[in-house]
Symmetry: C2
Subunit: 151 residues, 2 copies
DNA sequence: ATACATGCAAAATGTTTGCAGACTG
DNA sequence: CAGTCTGCAAACATTTTGCATGTAT
């Protein structure tokens, strides 16, 4: 089988070595936002000969090609996720480090409008909300949370 | 004279050493978002004996105390600014690296509402828009831009 | 006087790179 | 076969830390 990200690599004429195929697969299957170390760990499970330097080189390459996006949720290390089709944002539980993804078209529209008002075309953005579980719990957890422990 | 940030330090019962006083002053006077190296450079102008380790320790301390906020505009190094009374956001010119600050109450309200809808109290956030000067310039530069070159 | 701050240099992170050999297209 | 990729280890860049000494409260 050919993972989603492998297909994207092929479309962009990247040479598919065994290592890349594995990393592509790990990335395709990831539903969280792994850092390089974590990717290395997961990839190593498939082929222990992969070096962490290759993981670094691969994520950098895939980011340049627009296949991956680099995130910074604090904690020093970069984290990655496959470029989403639709934009989504992240809310990080300040206590547990859990990351909750959500989307909001109204927010998106507002941000574009804002940039436009300042004379710019919005190229990309970084938005992370840090929150603390509300004492008076209104709606229990909307959005879908992907369990990710703290760094 | 006693700089604004020095006053905040005193309120929090931090020991005001000569080095801290200088760093506090440099931070109080900064209208941009200097990184540690830059703070070190500016502080050194007042007292060449300050060590960069102290600058690191001081910004970390002031961040913990809520006096400073750490920013990441890309480029690997953390940058700092005094905690603002009113929230403001940043739009970074993707070409020049220039940082434009702006505020927007509607945006702020929306973000709070969003967090609330997910069951969280918004503690803090990170929002950076990356834009490219619009070809069809509607309004020439709203907001106030502080000239900051790329990393 | 005591607890905390500092300077220095060493260490710890996280990430990049030079090189010789291996592999893909 | 040409150009690219990989592993390894060394190099980097930024930030943190241990320790002996100095200083604010």
């Amino acid at each position: 089988m050919e993972s989603r990200i492998e297909r994207l690599c092929i479309e962009r004429r990247l040479k598919m070595t065994g290592q890349r195929r594995i990393i592509a697969r790990v990335l395709s299957e990831a539903e969280d936002h792994p850092d390089v170390e974590e990717l290395y760990r997961r990839a190593s499970a498939f082929d222990a000969r992969i070096s962490i330097a290759t993981v670094y080189r691969t994520v950098r390459l895939l980011e340049e090609k627009g296949i991956l996006e680099r995130r910074d949720f604090g904690g020093g290390r970069a984290r990655y996720e496959a470029t989403a089709h639709g934009h989504h944002y992240h809310l990080i539980d300040a206590d547990s480090g859990r990351v909750i993804e959500f989307t909001d078209p109204a927010l998106e529209a507002m941000l574009h409008a804002l940039a436009g008002r300042l004379g710019f075309d919005l190229v990309s953005m970084r938005l992370e909300l840090f929150g603390r579980r509300a004492a008076t719990g209104p709606g229990e957890a909307a959005g879908h949370a992907d369990a990710e422990g703290r760094r």
